[in-house]
């Protein structure tokens, strides 16, 4: 929904910081277990070393996110924070930047999949309130919505496939 930009107060700053830190802590532990689960059967896992190696990467991700969130809230105009966050991420890691190697190396210790799990746990809880609304939708509505999602996804994949083939990339 078209959200009016929230006013930046010390409350918002604190909120961004806390949400990111709580998510990062859950992510840190999740990432350790993810590494353990991925290496299951492949010998012992050095939990302490993994822990120490994960911290800088997570702090970098938190820092980028925090700056992007603040920019999204502070800069007038319709640019949402996820665009700022992506742009900062690209700028810091693009080959040739002095930060590139360090940023890529330290964040490579954080599995992409492990950054998703905490968010989706919260998403599940927040979906709970939509459940009552969902039950009211008949099977036709659900079916058509499913087809719409399928069509969007598939349509995009087909066009990408054709253009990538023409370009000779695949």
């Amino acid at each position: 929904m078209a959200k009016a930009k929230e006013k930046l107060t010390s409350d918002t700053f604190l909120e961004f910081t806390l949400v990111l830190l709580i998510t990062a802590v859950i992510c840190l532990i999740g990432n350790l277990i993810y590494a353990w689960a991925a290496a299951r059967g492949a010998g012992p896992v050095d939990w302490a070393a993994n822990f120490v190696q994960s911290v800088p990467g997570l702090l970098i991700l938190c820092g980028i996110s925090w700056v992007g969130l603040v920019m999204g809230a502070a800069i007038p105009g319709p640019v949402p924070s996820i665009i700022w966050i992506t742009v900062i991420g690209i700028v810091l890691s693009v080959p040739g930047m002095p930060t590139s190697k360090y940023v890529i190396d330290s964040t490579s210790k954080i599995a992409l999949l492990a950054t998703c799990t905490p968010v989706l746990a919260y998403a599940g809880v927040s979906m709970g309130k939509d459940w009552a609304e969902f039950k009211k939708i008949g099977w036709r509505g659900v079916l058509v919505s499913g087809l719409v999602m399928f069509g969007t996804f598939f349509g995009s994949a087909i066009v990408a496939e054709i253009i990538l083939k023409i370009q000779g990339i695949i």
Binding site: I60, G141, L147
Partner: protein, 275 residues
């Protein structure tokens, strides 16, 4: 206004955070479940288990501390928490910037592939007896910006508004799992993982996480490319979403509706689905 209202609410919801923490630990311990199908696999990711358990915890009775008081905080965590994933994907895009630029034309044109869904889903919606609802239902994948556009043009109380809210609600509840499975299924077709990766960016952050995560689990040696293409495609959708809706998709859906409704919807009585 009370000082530090949001922060206080966030901290007072500590049982929610502990619960999500425990959910994540359980789900990561389970790990990725692979169901082999033919020469490929359906991948069930820990994040999908986490989402389902989160919802069960909210709906079911024994977990009394997870209730409507958590609504605001949990949605804040979705919006803000997804930043970590976006930052991670931004970094991968930067590291693979050359392949992203090289694939620029494909990334841009696949945005128009999203329109294909209108030709495909609108006739079926009409066949089911939807009238003006079908405009909102089928014009897009109905994430927040798309809902906002419909709200602007028609209001959410209109038939078009009811339609878009159906796709929005269904997408919110089952969309993430749906596209996660869809990525596994499309990976069994001759489509190249790169092309599927670009399709992963069409919806919300959670949808992108589930679908690109599935692809990465299936093709670990292409992980960087997949995540870079998915992230760029998602950013493009965010940039062009509203403009595309206003300039192309809504007028196109209206145009097709005008021509197809008299043919397909002829014998059907107006049936409102959302009763």
């Amino acid at each position: 206004m009370e000082k530090f209202k949001n922060t206080k609410e966030l901290l007072s919801n500590w049982p929610l955070h502990i619960t999500c923490f425990v959910i994540v630990i359980i789900c990561e311990c389970i790990g990725i479940i692979k169901i082999p199908v033919g020469n490929s696999s359906i991948m069930l990711l820990p994040m999908l288990f986490a989402m389902v358990i989160g919802m069960i915890v909210y709906i079911s009775k024994p977990f009394t501390w997870i209730n409507s008081k958590c609504d605001k905080t949990s949605s804040k965590f979705v919006v803000i928490g997804v930043s970590l994933l976006i930052a991670k994907m931004g970094i991968t895009s930067g590291a693979s910037i050359q392949s992203v630029i090289k694939a620029g034309p494909a990334l841009i044109f696949q945005e128009f592939g999203n329109l294909g869904t209108i030709f495909f889903a609108l006739p079926i919606a009409l066949l089911f007896g939807f009238k003006r609802e079908s405009i909102g239902l089928t014009y897009s994948i109905a994430r927040e910006p798309n809902v906002a556009v419909i709200a602007n043009e028609y209001t959410l109380d209109s038939p078009e508004g009811r339609g878009v809210m159906i796709t929005y609600t269904v997408g919110t509840l089952i969309g993430t799992i749906f596209v996660g499975l869809l990525a596994s299924i499309l990976a069994m077709t001759p489509l190249h993982p790169y092309a599927i990766a670009m399709a992963c960016g069409v919806g919300s952050g959670s949808m992108m996480a589930a679908s690109s995560g599935t692809l990465i689990a299936l093709f670990p040696n292409m992980a960087d490319q997949i995540s870079a293409y998915a992230a760029t495609s998602n950013i493009l959708s965010n940039i062009d979403g509203v403009v595309m809706a206003v300039v192309i998709s809504i007028p196109l859906t209206n145009f097709l509706y005008k021509h197809w409704e008299p043919i397909i919807g002829k014998r059907k009585k107006n049936k409102s689905e959302n009763n």
